[in-house]
Symmetry: C2
Subunit: 218 residues, 2 copies
């Protein structure tokens, strides 16, 4: 049977990027269906009735929701090419720990980007602190898992397309604070899977005022 | 080599319970070390320097943090006895989805229990809505995974010791709103692993005023 793989996504999504990269790493052909988040499609509501959010991966008609769960699903379903999670259970637990840590940056990033006036500075500081912890975890390795691009890299690189926007609104320089993270991101972008999947930073930054307006109205 | 397994935990923790149950399901002997969260031990700070939180599972000297990650680690490390996650990748992704969903109930439960006056009612309503979604997912099955007690059961049953406290402070009846969830919880409690691990509801409810005071001071 030929696999039918569909991704319901929204181009600037830092979560959708993860799933796109994982699919590219596995050389899986997929139909990308862009979603209008202000006017959610019947397919999105049907496939993710609980959270009604993108990305949704639909594999042979069956939905998988939540980007990091999709990445694990993709790795388990197509295990041969470019393993994403380490095979050792302890290393796998560590990778999941850092994936979970990266997702914990979100409430703070929400405040930084869409919060009330005055919250940005505190949120920006917190984001930089968390990024520094990630930098310390990365150390001098090529990727988070060592020599192989994998799960934690995929979890974090999704944010890279937003770094310029974070810097602009948070008034800090990620490169000054976390030079190794920027060097790591530049290495990641050299991979086809990442280059193909990441949204353009400039376009993301241009979009932000529009999103801010919508969030204020919504 | 005999495995050395240590659990740093705090008895009423709804997260620690998950890890305790998973270890019991696998018949793994472990040293339980109760933690004073107002005066964190050097061992806790060393083993979970990032979040400084319980539970921490220490296996042969190496820490694993975050309860659901611990449950997966335990299942992967001791796979033979009582499998916790389903073997099929799609079913596994679904189990992870609901585990993640259950963890998303936390910010609301925080407001319900420790939030500012007036927030409780809204938070209580939200909790009941989420519990209803879980009830609908459970349907008429014995456990969330079907006939076998597993990952989602472990993720949710940790909250059961707190149900009385939630009801008292949220002013609702879980049994009236979600009778199938209560029937499911009663089935779970018949398992040795759960009966041994769950904190006593009355003791949890008695503890709450003390915790509220500490949270107000802290």
């Amino acid at each position: 049977m030929v696999d039918e793989v569909i991704l319901l996504d929204y181009w600037p999504s830092m979560f959708g990027v993860r799933t796109r990269i994982a699919l590219e790493e596995k050389n899986i052909k997929f139909d990308y269906i862009e979603q209008d988040l202000c006017n959610k499609s019947a397919l999105l509501l049907e496939m993710n009735p609980v959270h009604k959010k993108i990305p949704v991966l639909i594999h042979n008609g069956k939905p998988v929701c939540e980007s990091l769960i999709q990445v694990e699903y993709i790795d388990e379903t197509w295990p041969r090419e470019n393993p994403i999670l380490p095979s050792d259970p302890y290393q796998r637990a560590q990778a999941r720990f850092w994936g979970n840590f990266i997702d914990k940056m979100l409430p703070g990033l929400g405040k930084l980007m869409w919060g009330v006036k005055g919250e940005e500075q505190e949120a920006g500081k917190e984001f930089v602190e968390m990024l520094k912890m990630l930098e310390s975890e990365l150390g001098d390795r090529t990727y988070f898992g060592g020599e192989t691009f994998g799960y934690v890299d995929i979890a974090l690189i999704g944010f890279y397309g937003w770094f310029d926007a974070f810097e602009k609104y948070g008034n800090f320089s990620i490169e000054a604070e976390c030079p190794k993270i920027i060097a790591w991101a530049k290495r990641c972008v050299k991979r086809d899977s990442v280059a193909k999947s990441l949204p353009d930073s400039e376009k993301v930054t241009e979009l932000v005022p529009e999103l801010k307006k919508k969030k204020r109205v919504g």
